[in-house]
């Protein structure tokens, strides 16, 4: 089953290129033929000359990034983007969500839908869509939301999993909080699930875990790509009856996002190290899983500096619905993906502990386990955890708080009104997100 990725805006196109790169090199290294062929079928199609072309549609309102990504892909020698899979204009969206959503998206709807349609036709069986975008700018966020809406309209029974990159809290774009609020509120209605990476968290991984001195966007993107690939590469699931799952997006969504109010997913993986160190390290499943579990409940994305003091509150501790509550991160559902040597003997009981989950789902349903005996991206053993938990609650709340403060003074609103987004639209979006925040805050009850 094949996945069609739609790369939107600068971030979407930069991260997307790194993602395909990791996947392609992982598929190449893998000594297992079935794994490689499933991976390739999922993400690439083969031309008559035997070249691998990504099942991707690249969309941007200006051409420089797409050109750059296509060139980089071609340089890898292992894969490339198809010549006619991209759509760009001459001029960007100006960091204006309203411009992206109300003007540019509709204007170029036909062209983009056509590209998607062609890509879908190349799939024997369509597993679903992964739109990739940032929420801070204008194209990824505005045009990306519009394109997601189109995917929903044209392919109502397909799965749509949006990959979102959230900007640094201290600002890359001044109106980023407005753009983010508008995007998230709309996507919540359109998407099956939203898998989020935050630049701040990924940056910490690069500096404290990987010890990079100078960190570039390329470094951030490679970490994101590694984690995403860890989720999307073939795995054996409970439903797949001994073969690699043919419905990865569907199974992910049903494992994690079955309630319409809870769609925010985050990922973390272990181990994460500079590639030079990998050869010198040995890993044991008990150690890896113990750390990963603590990373989940202490809401940290890396092994470095884990706070072992954080514990689930005792069952007797009454109901709380605060954002902090001792730093403990309650989960609604988790998907644990184990890859590499000895996966069948890995003991995952720690993730079935009812104390780490909210009380409504029995832990047996709250935890899903996928496995693959094939080592992933050079790691002899590795685990990726996708969680539907409170991990994004604080960043989301911060985003809404800052946007609301700005809205209270009506700063920049004239820029949005100019393109057809009214104060009413803003209020609706704020209301939706306050609802989401409230829902997630309640998870500890």
């Amino acid at each position: 089953m094949s996945v069609v990725t739609v790369q939107l805006g600068q971030c979407g196109n930069q991260v997307g290129q790194e993602l395909f790169d990791v996947i392609s090199s992982d598929a190449q290294d893998g000594q297992r033929k079935t794994y490689s062929s499933v991976s390739r079928e999922r993400f690439f199609r083969q031309t008559s000359q035997g070249d691998f072309e990504a099942r991707a549609v690249l969309v941007d309102m200006e051409p420089k990034v797409i050109n750059h990504s296509m060139n980089r892909a071609a340089k890898s020698g292992r894969w490339r983007y198809a010549e006619a899979s991209h759509f760009s204009q001459k001029q960007g969206s100006g960091n204006n969500w309203a411009n992206g959503f109300r003007v540019l998206g509709p204007r170029h709807r036909d062209a983009v839908e056509e590209l998607v349609r062609r890509e879908v036709e190349h799939c024997d069986v369509l597993a679903g869509f992964i739109p990739m975008m940032s929420v801070a700018g204008g194209t990824g966020s505005g045009v990306g939301t519009f394109v997601t809406q189109c995917l929903r309209d044209v392919y109502p029974s397909s799965f749509v999993l949006n990959h979102l990159t959230w900007p640094y809290g201290t600002g890359e774009v001044i109106v980023q909080n407005y753009n983010s609020v508008l995007t998230l509120a709309h996507l919540y209605q359109l998407s099956d699930a939203l898998l989020v990476h935050e630049n701040d968290a990924v940056h910490r991984i690069c500096s404290q875990q990987l010890n990079l001195k100078q960190i570039s966007f390329g470094d951030l993107n490679r970490v994101i790509a590694h984690q995403l690939a860890g989720v999307l590469q073939p795995a054996l699931t409970p439903d797949s009856c001994g073969a690699y799952s043919g419905n990865p997006l569907g199974e992910l969504v049903s494992a994690l996002a079955c309630h319409p109010e809870y769609k925010l997913l985050s990922a973390c993986s272990i181990p994460q190290m500079a590639s030079a160190s990998i050869a010198f390290s040995t890993f044991s499943w008990p150690a890896l899983l113990k750390h990963l579990r603590q990373m989940l409940i202490a809401n940290t994305k890396m092994e470095e500096g884990i706070d072992w003091q954080v514990r689930p509150p005792p069952a007797s501790a009454g109901r709380t619905s605060s954002l902090t509550a001792g730093g403990f991160n309650a989960s609604l559902a988790n998907l644990l993906i184990l890859r590499g040597k000895d996966v069948y003997s890995a003991e995952t009981g720690g993730f079935e502990d009812p104390a780490i989950y909210t009380s409504w789902l029995p832990p047996a349903e709250a935890l899903s386990l996928w496995k693959s005996p094939v080592p992933f991206d050079k790691y002899e053993k590795s685990a990726t955890l996708v969680s539907n938990s409170q991990a994004l609650l604080r960043p989301l709340d911060d985003m809404v708080r800052k946007a609301w403060n700005m809205f209270a003074s009506r700063a920049y609103i004239h820029q949005y009104v100019k393109f057809g987004i009214s104060e009413e639209d803003f209020l609706d979006s704020f209301t939706s997100l306050e609802q989401v925040i409230s829902s997630y805050a309640q998870l500890q009850c």
Partner: protein, 451 residues
């Protein structure tokens, strides 16, 4: 690839404009040598309109090395000048040449595949730049309402030798407030100070350090014009400003910053669109391996009052928004580190505490390994505008020279009083924001959701 049309009006506007084209061509020739991106070269620079009501400057251009770049269809000249009279520029010439100007603008726009922005360059103190320049601004708004209008306006210093410069400036200000999307104010005195500083550095530099002579800021050396005119150094700085602002549109980078993004992010309220520019570094030493400390110094300098292009100290006033456009081999971690480091000392308005717009362009300017352009929407423009208002009122109270203006067909006294009100209102708006500076503003109460 987007294009911009540069419209240079008046003596000052044309002199600065020419420095810009000269440096831009040099920049692209330099980059081209390394085989990067020749698309940028072909389309970006075709589009200029040169307007002056005297012939001297424009003729000089046509005889100089830049004659290859411009053709006569892009020029509009007259002979008698505007007599340092805004009304003559705006009303007399404005009406007489309206059609011709619109035609030339249309032609330049037609050359563009995708027109993103008009750059208007003119001084505020004279007659043509300030009067006719602002008339062109209104015409741009009428004819091309959807295209961004960025004005680089040269403000006169207090010691300006044109007596009526306060009148011209205030009359022009009103036009800028009402019709421009962004204004980059530049004060002559600041440019003089900066040039002096560079010259001190190059003569009194520390032993062992060598000032790079080929840097675009300090010299026209290696540029097309063999003779350096007196204002060249100052004009170079302004030209560099334009070069840096457009760099992301011309070259690639990991975080692009387009011109329409500048207006979007830096203008929270339509009238408050005066963005104080600062450029670093202004000179470089020849040691190529710049350790991180020097890079950090560049960021610190961008906020120091010595590097601002108007005489103001933004650190002492209130930031509404700030954009940082970095060029060269600088990564996002360097950017983040410096923002975190400098942030505590910079007062930001309560609703925009983390209001940064950042851009990273991989191609540095010629002669530097990296550079930084900061554009600040900051209330520090208020004192500049208040001084301007004071100088205006000194003359206006005594009705000095008023008849020169009122004698012009179409000019009325009400235009003076309206322009003065417009300026006062603008000052007031900045003042209101300033008043919030010391106050601790609590978070706005959030929407509460019934459960």
């Amino acid at each position: 690839m987007t294009q911009s049309v540069v419209v240079q009006v008046g003596q000052c506007g044309n002199q600065v404009g020419c420095r810009f084209w000269d440096l831009a061509l040099r920049e692209h020739a330099h980059v081209n040598k390394r085989g990067l991106y020749d698309e940028a070269l072909s389309s970006f620079f075709r589009n200029a309109v040169l307007i002056d009501m005297e012939e001297g400057v424009v003729n000089g251009i046509l005889q100089g090395p830049l004659r290859e770049v411009f053709d006569s269809t892009q020029l509009l000249t007259d002979v008698s000048g505007s007599g340092n009279n805004w009304a003559v520029g705006h009303l007399t010439y404005g009406s007489a040449y309206r059609e011709a100007i619109v035609n030339k603008l249309r032609k330049a726009a037609e050359h563009c595949d995708c027109l993103q922005c008009f750059f208007l360059i003119h001084s505020m103190g004279g007659g043509t730049g300030s009067g006719l320049g602002t008339r062109v601004l209104s015409l741009l708004e009428e004819e091309f309402p959807d295209v961004c209008r960025i004005v680089t306006a040269m403000y006169p210093s207090a010691e300006d030798d044109v007596i009526t410069s306060p009148y011209n400036s205030v009359l022009a200000m009103r036009e800028l407030t009402e019709h421009a999307d962004c204004v980059l104010p530049v004060e002559n005195q600041s440019l003089v100070d900066i040039v002096n500083k560079i010259s001190v550095m190059s003569h009194g530099a520390k032993p062992g350090s060598v000032l790079r002579k080929d840097s675009t800021v300090t010299s026209g050396q290696g540029s097309l014009s063999p003779t350096e005119k007196p204002f060249d150094a100052m004009n170079n700085i302004v030209a560099n400003l334009l070069l840096n602002i457009t760099s992301s549109a011309r070259f690639e980078g990991s975080l692009n910053m387009d011109l329409n993004e500048i207006a979007m992010n830096l203008v929270p309220f339509p009238r408050l669109h005066y963005l104080v520019p600062s450029l670093t570094p202004l000179y470089t030493l020849a040691d190529v391996n710049i350790p991180t400390r020097r890079l950090d110094q560049m960021f610190s300098d961008a906020f120091s009052k010595d590097h601002q292009l108007i005489r103001a100290d933004p650190k002492r006033s209130l930031y509404l928004a700030c954009a940082l456009m970095v060029r060269g081999n600088v990564q996002v971690s360097d950017l983040r580190r410096n923002i975190e480091r400098l942030r505590p000392s910079l007062p930001f308005v309560s609703w925009n505490q983390e209001g940064w717009k950042t851009g990273l362009c991989s191609v540095p300017p010629v002669g530097h390994s990296h550079s930084l352009l900061a554009l600040a929407n900051n209330t520090c423009v208020k004192p500049t505008f208040m001084e301007l208002r004071d100088r205006f009122t000194k003359l206006y109270r005594k009705k000095a020279h008023l008849h020169h203006y009122l004698d012009v067909d179409g000019m009325e006294q009400s235009i003076f009083s309206e322009s003065l009100s417009s300026l006062s209102e603008l000052i007031d708006e900045y003042h209101q924001l300033d008043a919030t500076k010391a106050r601790l503003i609590p978070d706005a109460p959030r929407l509460s959701i019934a459960r």
